[in-house]
Amino acid sequence: MLAVATLPDAITFAIAAVIAVVGALGVVLSRNPVHAALMLVMTLFGVAVLFVEENAQFLAAVQVIVYTGAIVVLFLFVIMLIGVDRQERVFADGFNARRALTFFLGLAVLAEVLLLAHERWVTGAHSVTGKLHGAAANVSDLGHAIFTTYLLPFEVTSALLVVAVIGAVVLARRHTAGDEPTERPVLAAGEPGSGAGEDANSPALEGAPGGSGVDR
């Protein structure tokens, strides 16, 4: 497998794969959400390098711009907004049955996908949608496919984005005093010490006597 690849390709793949996997493990294992976000950037860059290796230059560029430029920044924005001081021990309550089941499930998924990943399972017809013409023509190949074969999905995408923008505005809108719900839900007795609880100008604090048994 690796033997048929040229040495630079093999080395690039190995380094990028290690970067991606280390980043993924970092996302799962780091206690601080900010560190997790930065590790996510690492994984995304590793995958972008792999995209270049596979002659998907346009997608590599989009991956870097959209994911690390927009999505992770959005994550960091929200982390900063709701408090960065919260740390979570990943294995706080020990290795109980639920965790064991989780890891068993993970191993099962891994085994299943590895089984399917064998090369002889690539059985489909070649070049149904259109041929790929190598690195230089990647953008034109993709553009041609998107604006001809996938034109309708592309247009539907714009509707999706509009819906997402409107939904985000509605969800994150600060309620004015007039339409504040009269009865607040009983709050969950979760971990104390939420950084957001000290938000003095949060409207949810006002006019909610006894709305919470939890002192945050």
């Binding site: 048929v4 979570e88 590895l114 949810a204």
Partner: protein, 101 residues
């Protein structure tokens, strides 16, 4: 000659598994969200790999749409998280267990 698609698929499987286990193990909503992004990326890598293996532009087009949907999903999801915080839920998914039916 680039590395055989098998290795890419194996790597994608590993990334997907790490993401799935992280989603189940972690309690912080934001980190769970990042794990979803990890799984989406693993799927994208699979798409691109098959696109190369079958010399078909369809796989790369699918990744393009996945990227758009992921962006929209993150916007709405983070909006939900922010509004949960407005209502004084905590940062972990357990704090929002009142949402259970």
């Amino acid at each position: 000659m680039s590395v055989s698609p098998t290795w890419y698929l194996v790597l994608a499987a590993v990334l997907f598994t790490v993401g799935a286990v992280g989603l189940l193990v972690r309690r912080n909503v934001l980190v769970m969200f990042m794990c979803i992004e990890l799984m989406l990326n693993a799927a994208n890598l699979t798409f691109v790999t098959y696109s190369r293996a079958l010399n078909d532009v369809g796989g790369q087009s699918a990744v393009f749409f996945v990227l758009v949907v992921a962006a929209a999903e993150v916007v709405v999801g983070l909006g939900i998280i922010v509004s949960l915080f407005r209502r004084k839920f905590g940062a972990t998914a357990d704090d929002a267990h009142i949402l259970k039916g």
